[in-house]
Amino acid sequence: MSVATILSKPPTEDKRWKIIETTMRRNDFQPDALIESLHSVQQTFGFLDLPSMRWVAGALKVPLSKVYGVATFYHFFTLKPQGKHVCVVCMGTACYIKGGRQLLDEVQHHYGIAEGQTTKDGELSLLVARCIGACGLAPTAVVDGKVLGKRSATELLAAVDDTLGRKA
């Protein structure tokens, strides 16, 4: 299958493709539903891979290059699978002023991963958020969807270790 192949039906037998198809149908398979459709893919599968982009491209009649362009333009979309657990450190202005950088440095150092990376065992992904909007609780981090506010670096590492099932 060449890169340019456009898929006319979902890439796999997975039933979850129906969810994405519903999103596209609700938008009449119009090209302007591209971002919505990619949101739907990411929400369902956690990331965007080439087969899924190919299928969306075919269904919405948008060139694959444009789909790829959109998928890589927006920070919200990720083309790599995430780790089992996710730690998001907020680097909004309020968090930065109150020491968000130290939190990030510590997590990077401790787990040996840079922002946007996942540990080799696929256990932990480290992400940076622009602002999670909990500025009153700065500095903040989100570990597996749970917002941790006003934490020191040590407290955050303990929380992440705890989530990973490791002893601090």
Partner: protein, 550 residues
């Protein structure tokens, strides 16, 4: 829905009164402190005591004090730092005296100095209940507009009120509406810009989460005024709760025919769709936002043609910010004259600010325009913690600037802030104390602009990168005096030649810190110079030493 039905619904909802009310903040900030668990604990406690017919429990929008959350309002008492285990005591206290140790003083300046227009129903209505919103007057302004006013009258009313765009630039709203109204063609769009990308700002989120029907109502009135039938709300995907509340509000309004075909039995029809952003700051720029709604990469294009003439899918489009739309209903209800008496001569009404940083009271505040900055910092926000000295306040996010202590007496309005080298922006206000290094702050914002630059025009794409490199050198004490000069030149070049607002305003944080805190840059450069001289000296002496060795 017919006009009478709205009135009946309102009267019926108002007649349903309870002896007591328990309101829990369910805005994102408090939710992250598990206010949903708390809400459940309270309602369980009410049920356990068999008080369900006396106590009305509901989740409400932000009550302001995010740092003291979760907040609970029990009748007149406001409680802070509430935990689920406090539920029995709180329910018990409904009939007697409030629980003293949880009380939050609502007579402190943080609350009394505020003036609520947009947020008047925050903490009062349940944003997920249409009936509750209607009981508190939602959609009355829309009813008044479509049944008693002509589109021309609506535009006049908004123009007379002096309302200006709350997204940052402060363009007169009435003028914008008039331009779209004059544009030809039968298809027009109304867009609500809810892509609040400024780090450190969350006013629009709180409005969408706390009173989504007010935003919808404002959009419908705008659509009626400019002759549009379609509306799009563009929200950041990073705001899942706002997305959920807006979706629910749209569905409820549609089901009760408050939006849709022939609203209130008139000829006016209006449909709204929700579109999600995907994390691109540049999409706050109107032409980039339009591209994003069309499903493309959010890249701005040169203006003119302005969206008012050539916008979404090529049709005339009105774009306003969330807070701007939220101001519309009160203006229609209470009149332009009422609105115009709040604020200063050129900046009318109120503005919501997200107060954060090194300050005692963080949270959301809504203040009349023209309030002195000092009053916000020292009176409302209670000054700085730990006895630290105030250094600067940053307004306007990455497009704004820092205002130093000596300018604390300026008033907060579009003109004064611009004169001080900053902007009103969407309303982020971040306070810094003496420990903050201003060159580092400038580097932080430049890094933001560099990553968020869409890459279309070269001044912004390369300019922000180069400026970030220079700021990095300065902060890491590696810079030379020439670097500073180059930085200044680049600021000027990027400001003058970038295509859109992002690039044009990207140098602002650098320019404003240079304007008031240039000494800090010089200190860092002098330290770099000294380190270099020391290194050269060490190298020379080492060299000599090597020579004398046999």
């Amino acid at each position: 829905m017919k006009p009478e039905e709205l009135m009946t619904m309102m009267d019926k909802a108002r007649a349903d009164t309870f002896a007591h009310e328990l309101r829990v903040c369910t805005e994102s900030g408090c939710m992250s402190l598990q206010s949903d668990v708390l809400q459940k604990a309270l309602s369980d406690e009410v049920k356990r005591r068999g008080m369900s017919d006396q106590v009305c429990g509901k989740g409400v929008g932000c009550m302001g004090r995010g740092c003291n959350g979760p907040l609970v309002k029990a009748d007149k008492a406001m409680y802070q730092f509430v935990k689920p285990e406090h539920a029995p005591a709180i329910v018990e206290a409904l009939a007697t005296q409030p629980v003293k140790e949880l009380l939050c003083d609502t007579q402190q300046p943080f609350f009394t100095r505020q003036k609520l227009v947009v947020r008047e129903n925050f903490g009062i209505v349940d944003p997920e209940s249409l009936i509750d919103c209607i009981a508190h007057g939602a959609y009355q302004a829309l009813l008044k507009t479509v049944t008693t006013m002509t589109p021309q009258q609506v535009i006049e009313e908004i123009s007379n009120s002096g309302l200006r765009g709350r997204g940052g630039a402060g363009f007169p709203t009435g003028l914008k509406w008039a331009t779209v109204s004059k544009a030809g063609g039968s298809t027009k769009y109304v867009i609500c810009n809810g892509d609040e990308g400024d780090p450190g700002a969350f006013m629009d989120r709180s409005v969408m989460e706390g009173d989504p029907h007010r935003v919808l109502e404002g959009m419908a009135i705008a659509a009626y005024a400019v002759g549009a039938e379609n509306g799009v709300i563009y929200v950041r995907a990073e705001y899942p709760l706002a997305v959920k509340r807006l979706t629910k509000a749209i569905n409820l309004a549609r089901r009760h025919e408050l939006i849709g075909h022939n609203i209130f039995g008139t000829k006016f029809s209006f449909n709204v769709e929700l579109r999600l952003g995907a994390g691109a700051f540049v999409c706050g720029e109107e032409t980039a936002l339009i591209a994003s709604v069309e499903g493309k990469r959010g890249v701005p294009r040169p203006r003119p043609p302005y969206p008012a003439n050539y916008g979404l899918f090529g049709y005339p489009t009105l774009i306003n910010n969330v807070e701007t739309y939220a101001n519309v209903a009160p203006i229609i209800n209470k009149g332009a004259a009422w609105f115009a008496q709040i604020g200063t001569e050129k900046s009318k009404g109120t503005k919501i600010f997200a107060l954060t940083g090194k300050i005692k009271n963080t949270g959301l505040i809504e203040v009349p325009m023209g309030i002195p900055l000092r009053d916000i910092i020292y009176d409302i926000a209670g000054g700085l913690p730990d006895g630290k000295a105030f250094k600067a306040v940053q307004t306007g996010g990455p497009s704004g600037g820092c205002i130093p202590a000596e300018l604390l007496d300026i008033t907060v309005d579009y003109e004064s802030l611009a004169k001080a080298g900053s902007i009103m922006g969407s309303g982020g206000m971040i306070v810094m104390d003496e420990t903050s290094n201003m060159a580092d702050v400038a580097r932080f914002f430049m890094e933001f602009c560099m990553t968020e630059s869409c890459g279309k025009c070269i001044p912004c794409r390369v300019g922000t990168y180069e400026m970030h490199l220079l700021l990095d050198r300065i902060c890491e004490k590696r810079a030379t005096p020439e670097d500073l000069q180059l930085l200044k030149d680049l600021c000027d070049m990027v400001k003058q030649t970038s295509l859109c607002g992002l690039g044009q305003s990207a140098p602002n944080p650098v320019l404003s810190t240079l304007r008031y805190f240039e000494q800090e840059y010089h200190t860092l450069i002098a330290e770099a110079q000294a380190a270099r001289e020391k290194a050269t000296h060490a190298a020379t002496s080492e060299h000599i030493e090597l020579e004398v060795l046999p």
